[in-house]
């Protein structure tokens, strides 16, 4: 305990000063973190990973690198602070436009927050750890004092006011629910950091910093969600949104593979992405409509109906949202309206 405190302090001092890299080399603060990441334990406290130099989880430690996604997953309007950590002497590989290939010992950290500026409060931090036998997904819940985040194996529900002003019961997923989305053929995998959804600038900085082996082919092709509003990009925007918000389940080998609906960016078969595709296991989720996407008719498209609902058993995605993403529903409507009948 003493040792880790000392290390924590060294790292903090290092960051304040201008000799971060030297401090790192001198005290090797990553060492204990790597042990925690690679162990077979479930740390009770987020601070045990030493991803942050402060107890409030706002100052990333050395080698904990912030990133953003062009098109993000909607999570009730939560602000998200995303970081990757790659251990010293390791680098991330790439797989074309697809997922970055994180070496064993890596971690991906995402904090969910609500509230503006000084009012901003952290709700939860989700951690993906790449251990020797695969990835592990852990949810940590922040305390009321904002000084500590504690493992919430079974998840939790917390009352939240969203940026849209909705009073909701925000759901912190349990460990299994993490896997429901982070799943490929029953193995846990990262979802977000695909080269196609990361900015070329960030990737190139990662290459320069020797965290990433080379600039991936096909990087930075998904539109930037906040910036995209030109008519010409409707199709790309819609497909990017579906890729990021839906395809982690709706893909071959994903949690919803049995439906045959495949919403990945790279899927080009109209039927597979839902055009005139009848529902398979939608039940009342179908809302009385006959196909997922009826070209020209968003009002009779199951995809719009389910995105526009908050009712369990109807709402899609099933996990991760308690409110409607109205911007996305509007986008889907425009997209489907523009398809020729």
């Amino acid at each position: 305990m003493k040792q880790s405190l000392a290390l924590l302090m060294s790292a903090t001092i290092g960051l304040i000063g201008s000799v971060v890299a030297h401090a790192t080399i001198l005290v090797e603060p990553t060492h204990e973190r790597d042990q925690v990441i690679l162990s077979d334990q479930l740390p009770t406290l987020l601070s045990e990973f030493q991803f942050f130099d402060d107890a409030a989880g706002r100052d990333p430690a050395d080698r904990v690198i912030a990133y953003e996604l062009n098109t993000p997953l909607f999570s009730d309007g939560a602000d998200k602070l995303r970081y990757v950590y790659v251990p010293a002497n390791s680098t991330i590989g790439s797989d074309g436009e697809g997922l970055l290939q994180f070496p064993v010992g890596s971690a991906i950290i995402k904090t969910f927050a609500f509230g503006e500026r000084e009012e901003q409060r952290f709700i939860e931090t989700r951690v993906l750890l790449h251990r020797a036998d695969g990835w592990v997904a852990l949810p940590y819940r922040w305390n009321a004092e904002q000084t500590e985040a504690r493992l919430a194996i079974a998840g939790a529900r917390i009352p939240i006011t969203t940026p849209q002003g909705d009073e909701i019961s925000y759901r912190i997923p349990n460990m299994n629910q993490c896997k429901t989305c982070h799943s490929q053929d029953s193995e846990i995998i990262p979802i977000g950091p695909k080269a196609r959804n990361l900015s070329a600038d960030w990737l190139s900085e990662m290459v320069d910093g020797e965290h990433l082996t080379a600039m991936p082919e096909g990087a930075d092709v998904l539109p930037v969600w906040q910036a995209a509003d030109t008519d010409g990009e409707i199709d790309a925007q819609a497909r990017a949104y579906l890729d990021v918000n839906c395809a982690h389940c709706h893909k071959p080998g994903g949690s919803a593979s049995n439906t045959g609906l495949d919403l990945r960016w790279e899927q080009n078969d109209p039927f597979a992405i839902g055009v005139r595709k009848p529902p398979v296991a939608a039940g009342r989720g179908a809302g009385g409509f006959l196909v997922s996407i009826e070209p020209g008719n968003p009002d009779t498209s199951i995809l719009v109906h389910r995105m526009n609902s908050t009712e369990p058993g109807v709402a899609m995605p099933e996990l991760g949202r308690s409110t409607i993403d109205h911007d996305a529903v509007a986008l889907m409507r425009t997209w489907i309206e523009g398809m020729s009948e």
Binding site: M1, S4, D40, Q41, L42, P43, T44, L45, E48, D133, V136, L151, I153, A154, G155, R157, S169, R171, N174, M175, N176, Q177, K179, T180, S186, P252, S255, S257, N258, T259, G260, F271, K277, P278, P279, V280, A281, A282, G283, R284, G285, A286, G287, G288, F289, L290, V291, I302, E311, P312, G313, E318, L319, S322
Partner: protein, 395 residues
């Protein structure tokens, strides 16, 4: 540092140490305690749910192999999802060799229990009930194993599902037996699956009792090798309450046993009574399709000896009055659309629509009494049903 050592839970492939029993009692925090136990269980462990009423507000899930979840009886341990606020099902199982037994789920918002890619699963004396009875707002499937090899459902009971009470999809090596499916749209449905045995069940007050379907456009296709034997299929006369758009929304009220597409299906030893549209119906897939892998016709379907009581006396179909008059007040018990190949036991009364083509509707129908051959050989039962080891588990 405070740490929890749960190496065993994470190392699912490791050799299990002595199996543990985790006992959960109802009351304050029961949902969280149960979900934690479901996550932290080691292979071989048993999770015991004491008798009582559990209020569950989120979907539960199990992803550890070789775990048994055991309640105190399907009327003793009740997981109540009436106030469920999230997830698409009540309980989701994604691991292999799981046994679920002796508990109930009530009023899940979506499906009841879904097991996906969960091989060798046993559902034993499990109940899923939507307590308000038939209602389009009920969840779709009560018991819902999909994409699994080895499924045994025994002694289950499902009531009120707006799609299928017991639904097995895209799976192989299946037994559904000794179960009751009541007041669902489809009582028991086997879809896009092979080697299924459906026997000794009661299907009553559903829209359709037992459905054997093969549909296009799914990852797994080519349903067949199915036996539907010795079931009591009685008074399936509930008006169809499925939300439109789902395939079962097209099932006619009063259908007893229905085969759509599939190959090598045997229907025998069933008691069929008061199924007013058709005690037995064998048809091709009714819609158009573009899936080249798909065969829409029923092939080598065998209707053996069954016991036919009153039935076909109030069919939900066009020109019902004319048909009833033509057939003397009730339609014969076996209805075929005339597409594919059907064999029946000698003397089985039936009728055919004599449709000339699949997917073109019934306007070309030329109804006539059924005239099909007897099966040329004994039905091949090899490999049909759940693996024996599943049966051994419930002993």
């Amino acid at each position: 540092m405070f740490r929890m050592t749960v190496a065993a839970a994470l190392m699912a492939s490791g050799t299990p140490a002595l199996a543990d029993t985790h006992t959960i009692a109802p009351g304050e925090g029961a949902q969280e305690r149960l979900q934690e136990a479901l996550i932290l269980a080691a292979p071989g462990d048993e999770i015991v749910l004491e008798a009582g009423h559990y209020t569950i507000t989120d979907g539960l899930s199990l992803d550890v192999d070789n775990v048994t979840v055991r309640g105190a009886g399907m009327d003793g341990t009740v997981l109540d999802f009436t106030t469920q606020a999230g997830s698409g099902e009540g309980l989701l199982v994604t691991s292999d060799n799981v046994t679920l037994r002796d508990f109930a789920l009530e009023n899940p918002k979506g499906d009841g229990i879904k097991s996906k890619g969960a091989d060798n699963i046993v559902y034993y004396r499990v109940r899923v009930t939507w307590t308000n009875g038939p209602d389009a707002n009920n969840g779709a499937y009560g018991i819902y194993p999909v994409e699994s090899t080895g499924v045994l459902i025994d002694g289950a009971k499902v009531t009120g599902a707006s799609d299928a009470g017991i639904y097995v999809g895209q799976s192989n090596g299946i037994t559904v037996r000794n179960s009751i499916a009541e007041a669902n749209v489809a009582g028991i449905e086997i879809e896009n699956s092979r080697n299924a045995l459906v026997e000794h069940n009661i299907a009553t007050r559903n829209t359709g009792g037992i459905l054997i379907f093969d549909l296009p456009g799914l990852p797994v296709m080519g349903g067949g090798n199915v036996i539907v034997a010795n079931n009591l299929v009685v008074a399936n006369d509930t008006a169809n309450f499925a939300p439109p758009g789902n395939i079962v929304a097209g099932v006619r009220r009063g259908t007893g046993i229905m085969v759509m597409a599939n190959e090598d299906v045997l229907i025998e030893g069933n008691i069929l009574q008061h199924n007013p549209t058709a005690p037995i119906m064998v048809i091709a897939y009714v819609q158009g399709f573009e899936d080249e892998r798909y065969n829409p016709l029923p092939r080598d379907v065998v209707v053996g000896q069954n016991t036919y009581g009153v039935g076909g006396d109030d069919p939900q179909m066009d020109n019902a009055d004319m048909l009833l008059a033509a057939f003397g007040g009730a339609l014969p018990p076996v209805m075929w659309d005339g597409l594919g190949t059907l064999f029946t036991d000698a003397g089985t009364p039936g009728w055919s629509l004599n449709l000339p083509e699949q997917g073109k509707g019934t306007s070309m129908a030329q109804p006539s009494p059924l005239s099909v051959p007897e099966p040329a050989s004994e039905f091949d039962r090899t490999g049909i049903g759940a693996p024996a080891e599943l049966e051994a588990r419930i002993g």
